[in-house]
Amino acid sequence: MKNVLWVQFSKDKRNPLLVLLLIAGSIVAAILFGGGIQSATTVGIFSEEADAAEIEDKWEALLNTDDSFTFEIVEPEEAREDIKKGNIDVAVKVMEDDYRLLVSKNMPTVSSVERHVDKAFQQEAQISAVESQVGEDVRDEMESYLEDAPFQLEAQGLDSEQIPTYNIRTQLLFSFTFLISMFILGFKVNNVTQDKVAGIWDRMILSPMKKTGMYSGYLLYSFLITMLQIVIVLIVFKYVLRYDVGDSLWLIILIAACFTFGMISIAMLITGFVRTPEQFYAIYPSVIPLIPLVSGAYMMPGTITNSVLLFIADLFPLAHAMEAIMSVVFYGAGLQDVMMSLLYMLLIGVVAMGLGINLVERRSS
């Protein structure tokens, strides 16, 4: 087994470019699609009423309540022009007590802007309604009352002191890292077929080497090189780009390890169906990009509700890995909490590996 590891590593050492490019690729993809360095989205607001300036000022104050969005007063013509050209995704037209959303494309940001704006308007409408019935000073009274209410509601994460903040950027970081992992591990598993076709496998069969040693050499190499990629990417994001990936890095790596094992087994299963490395190169890259789509890895958790898709997603390790990682990163879950996901991935791994090796062996006799 050690000699197989050594020979595979020697080959990659000679041509490290592909693996390095893939690692760099997963970092770049996560930054690009994850919306870059963390910053609040700026949204333009404007009014076209008679007393526009007054209305704009009122809503600017009411809308800028947290740091996920910054609402800025803009010229109406300018906003309409930018929307038309697609320069910005969304702008808000405010009226005395109503609003309209101007949308150019349906990006995930649009719906969160809508939710935020809608909440502010609802709240304001309630306060105005009370005000008109009771009298003048309701607003101040309400505010001072709320500050010292009999029931203090404090939202908390499971173990942390902060409220868990779901963040699509962090999710995408993992989605892209795992997407690239699936390619790396697949290409390494394909070395089995490559060496079979070349006749190198037969040389090993004739030698005193054991079959288990042969398989474990190839599979362990695939595992190690994939874990290297994942760990490098995680370290870059956590310590260089300062992404918030939670405090339990070791638990994330454990989840990634189970994921890698599960996926290597699936790659082995696919190997069982192909005769040449070229066939693998034709099938594998066309199947792999579908897995994150079906598993909802690019969308907010819970977006996919179709039970058929959910069932298919459960057959692959990715859905389980994402679920476990999201709960670790956003909700501070511990080993106990993600145990089921880990076991699922290991189960998928053991079953697919058994089938895969069986098929490969049947092929060759």
Binding site: N3, W6, K11, R14, A198, G199, R203, L206, M209
Partner: protein, 310 residues
């Protein structure tokens, strides 16, 4: 001694090797000759225990080698027809790996690598990547990889296809040296008659999955001892003429290559005068004329009606 008894192999119902009986005595050098597709590689794969026969037996010193493949594996080295090498690695790295799978370690491994490299004449290029090698050098390394564990039986499957004459001679000399100096038993597969003729004590001629003749070179040539081979060169050749030559009494085989006609006919038949007569009839000029004793190539032509290169 290694022996096969009625060895057969079918792929999806198609018989590729049929009732093959063959033996290899210790220290012998045996050739397996046949055109492409004759079933040589399939035979080699069965003997080296890589594939299981559909029927028949293989024994090694009397032990059933199909049930106990270790009997053959532990004493044999196999040079496959394809280049089973890592092209992205150097010759040294390749041999290091192929030695390590035979559990060679440390000094012992280094020595085996060095000997194998010197033996095939690649010592000075050992640090170069295999993909930069010529076809002949790759073939030589392919052989070296099978020698590291000093096998008692060396099985070579067409080790010289598509290479330059120099590498070819090097390989033939090396194999001969292994057989004569070290006493290694050789099973050598080829579709080149000359190689097998030079190298082997005994040979089997295979065609369409069957052994059609076997024996020493002399024994095989004696098949044609009652035959003569005549080569004629003509200024033109037509179908009608060749057809009439075939009807001459005693003519067994004819083979046309451009303006040359090869005829195998029974000795003592009055062939030459009849041939001259025919050329006059067809107004063909006879440019050159030669009789030869038949070669193994002719034996093959005689037995199959085809040449080895078909």
């Amino acid at each position: 001694m290694l022996e096969t008894i009625n060895l057969s192999k079918s792929f999806k119902g198609k018989k590729v090797v049929q009732d093959l009986n063959l033996y290899l005595a210790d220290g012998e050098s045996v050739g397996l000759l046949g055109p492409n597709g004759a079933g040589k590689s399939t035979t080699i794969s069965m003997i080296s225990t890589l594939i299981k026969p559909t029927s028949g037996r293989i024994t090694m010193n009397g032990v059933n080698a199909i049930a106990k493949p270790g009997e053959i594996r532990s004493v044999s080295g196999v040079v496959p027809q394809e280049l089973a090498l890592y092209q992205e690695l150097s010759a040294y790295e390749n041999l290091k790996f192929f030695g390590s799978i035979y559990k060679l370690r440390g000094k012992e491994l280094e020595k085996a690598i060095q000997q194998a490299l010197e033996f095939v004449g690649l010592d000075d290029r050992k640090k170069d990547l295999v993909k930069t090698y010529s076809g002949g050098m790759k073939r030589r390394l392919n052989i070296a990889a099978a020698l590291l564990h000093r096998p008692k039986i060396l099985i070579l499957d067409e080790p010289t296809v598509g290479i330059d004459p120099q590498s070819r001679n090097h390989i033939l000399e090396a194999v001969r040296a292994l057989n004569q100096t070290d006493g290694t038993t050789i099973l050598y597969t080829s579709h080149y008659m000359e190689e097998v003729e030079q190298l082997c004590d005994r040979l089997y001629i295979m065609d369409h999955g069957k052994v059609i003749a076997a024996g020493t070179k002399d024994e095989l040539l004696s098949i044609l001892s009652t035959e003569n081979k005549i080569k004629v060169e003509l200024n033109k050749l037509d179908e009608a003429f060749v057809e009439q030559v075939k009807t001459i009494e005693g003519v067994h085989k004819t083979e046309v290559t451009e303006l040359q006609l090869k005829i195998i006919a029974a000795k003592g038949s009055n062939l030459i005068s009849k041939l001259v007569h025919l050329t006059e009839q067809h107004q063909i000029q006879l440019l050159h004329f030669q009789t030869e004793t038949p070669s193994l190539e002719d034996v093959f032509l005689h037995l199959t009606g085809r040449t080895l290169r078909d």
